[in-house]
């Protein structure tokens, strides 16, 4: 056995190599973003306006409702509900940032890399492909956190949203498990998008508004259950996207489970956290298999480097 073979099969070496790959792939997203300051404006500040529009919708409804009331107690209830709905929008807007990043910078990324000619370089490199996807995910999470944070800060400072966090540890756990599950889904999509070729771009575009709707990014998702059989079907389908359960749990942990009379939550936080862990594991395993299958298929059919297909 040659010294090169010994070195390559050494576990410690392989772990180090893959960790370096993660750092190496995350690097351009973290550092590249910092070298392009206009990114903060375009990706951090401009999207806040879309969220502001949804906030003003609830404000408009709230004002319209209050205009018809005279009882101070009823007015207070409407105000509390309106504030909780605005907080719902702000939290949803935070998650929108991560979902868009998963779609456009994770799921579409391998296809994008193929189009610009980087994919063959990745395939020739000696690291595990999952390390490559892991690096993309870590870098993407960092990039997106800036936007997510700016949404949260704007929510608190501009829209006066108040969060009541009774269990910060559970909140952190739910948040990170949601991110792992979301990016696991993105890693799985990354391989599938390679298979689907040009349809990938359109699929990503298609997974924006319909997912914002089915996952309840701008309203408590359990409200879908009140909308009849079709609403329940949409809510159940939407629950396969980790953002749905993650948002519902985060909203319970930051608004209090008694918000909206405690009637508009999907499941308890513990159950949602357990389901999210399951989804995270499932998507990471599926991503691993999808990547291996796609690589084999693309090599066999000779389409790994074929562009614009």
């Amino acid at each position: 056995m040659s010294s090169v073979t010994v070195r390559r099969s050494d576990l410690r070496y392989r772990i180090g190599l893959n960790l370096r790959s993660v750092v190496g792939r995350a690097y351009p997203r973290v550092i590249g973003a910092n070298r392009e300051p206009s990114w903060i404006f375009f990706e951090g500040l401009l999207p806040l306006l879309g969220i502001a529009a949804y906030v003003f919708i609830y404000e408009a409804f709230g004002r319209q409702a209050i205009a018809t009331l005279t009882d101070p107690a009823e007015i207070a209830v409407v105000q509390a509900n309106t504030h909780a709905l605005i907080a719902t929008v702000v939290l949803g807007g935070t998650m929108v940032a991560f979902w868009l990043n998963v779609l456009w910078s994770m799921a579409s990324q391998l296809y994008w890399e193929k189009e610009i000619g980087n994919l063959q370089l990745y395939m020739m490199a000696p690291m595990n492909r999952m390390a490559l996807l892991g690096g993309m995910a870590v870098g993407g999470m960092f990039m997106t956190s800036v936007r997510a944070l700016s949404t949260l800060v704007a929510g608190v400072l501009v829209f006066g949203v108040v969060f009541q966090v009774a269990d910060p540890l559970a909140l952190v756990a739910v948040f990170f498990v949601t991110l792992v599950a979301l990016y696991g889904l993105g890693m799985m999509f990354a391989s599938l998008y390679l298979l689907w070729g040009r349809e990938a771009w359109h699929l990503s575009a298609l997974l924006e508004e319909p997912i914002f709707f089915s996952s309840g990014f701008y309203f408590p998702v359990a409200g879908l259950y009140q909308a009849g059989a079709w609403g329940r079907a949409v809510a159940i389908a939407g629950a396969f996207i980790p953002a749905t359960l993650g948002l519902d749990a985060i909203r319970q942990l930051t608004l209090g489970s008694t918000a909206f009379g405690g009637r508009y939550w999907l499941l308890s936080v513990d159950v949602e956290l357990g389901l999210l862990v399951g989804l995270a594991v499932l998507f990471l395993i599926l991503a691993r298999y999808a990547l291996a299958y796609l690589e084999m298929l693309a090599k066999r059919e000779g389409t790994l480097t074929s562009r614009h297909q």
């Binding site: 999207p47 919708i57 319209q64």
Partner: protein, 286 residues
């Protein structure tokens, strides 16, 4: 002039092919419907949740809901037209990497972008009609449109889209110089109009400092006249009742001309600076 027309036609055909030939026609039609309908459903659910949680009577909010729904339907034009124009430079530059070939060909790149945007406007028109019909048929959106209003409606529509194209070209001029910010722009710039132009809620809901901003954007008047023509019964204080239909049309005409001039200026400046800095065919892959 014939060169411009030929460029426009060819670019429009190219745009249509790029938008639609990735799949079967029926799937493309479905795709074109699902996005706007889902977007409308987000608003429907927001309205529904508010009414259910507060245990209000839905009829008390019907006028506000119709206002919001119609505004949202016509906002499809804003998002599609803006995206259709400014994304051309970035997709040709970063994705297809063909900008250098198109750019050096003997055509007007400005007209080429307009042509590419045309297919997006055509698809958007289809989506707007579907959304409005769906709303009127299934969601009790109050639409009352008389044929006598058709000329005024078409005139305002053409002028509104003209303003949008000009704004899109302005953004295109800027994107000559920026990195791959297509999605930030696609989300953010329409977001400005979403908030300030009274698309989903009357301007009176905005803080007092923000209302003059809305009144200074021509699209605010376009949305207002469109709603006056489609839902005349909706008694909502839009803060624009002092403007007659004719005054709004004139304002849109003047805005179209002004924004066209501005778009040429910004486009040429961006193009000049990008050439000077060697950025015409740069790629920025993170």
């Amino acid at each position: 002039m014939s060169t411009y027309w030929r460029t426009f036609k060819t670019a429009a055909w190219l745009g249509w092919e790029m938008d639609s030939n990735w799949t079967e026609p029926w799937l493309f039609a479905l795709y074109s419907i699902v996005k706007p309908v889902a977007s409308a459903f987000i608003l429907v659910l927001m309205y529904f949740i508010f009414v259910v949680i507060g245990q209000f009577r839905p009829e008390d909010f019907n006028a506000g809901f119709s206002y919001m729904y119609i505004g949202n339907a016509f906002f499809i034009f804003v998002a599609s037209t803006l995206f259709g124009t400014f994304q051309v430079i970035q997709s040709d530059r970063e994705w297809y990497q063909t900008i250098r070939y198109v750019y050096i060909s003997p055509i007007s790149y400005y007209v080429y972008i307009l042509g590419r945007a045309f297919s997006k406007i055509a698809v958007a028109s289809f989506a707007v009609v579907i959304t409005l019909v769906f709303g009127a048929a299934f969601l009790d959106v109050q639409i009352a449109f008389g044929l006598e209003d058709l000329p005024l409606f078409l005139a305002s529509l053409v002028l509104g889209i003209g303003v949008l194209l000009a704004i899109g070209i302005c953004l295109g001029g800027i994107s000559f110089l920026t990195a791959k910010h297509t999605h930030g722009l696609a989300e953010g710039i329409p977001g400005i109009f979403y908030v300030f132009c009274g698309v989903l809620f009357p301007l009176s809901v905005l803080p007092t400092w923000a209302q003059p901003i809305g009144q200074a954007i021509p699209l605010t008047y376009w949305f207002d006249i469109t709603r006056r023509l489609l839902a005349p019964a909706a008694a909502i204080d839009t803060t624009l009742t002092g403007y007659s239909d004719g005054a709004i049309l004139l304002l849109l005409l003047l805005s179209s001309v002004a924004f066209f001039g501005l778009s040429v200026l910004i486009f040429k400046t961006g193009e000049h600076l990008a050439r000077k800095a060697g950025k015409i065919d740069m790629t920025t892959s993170y």
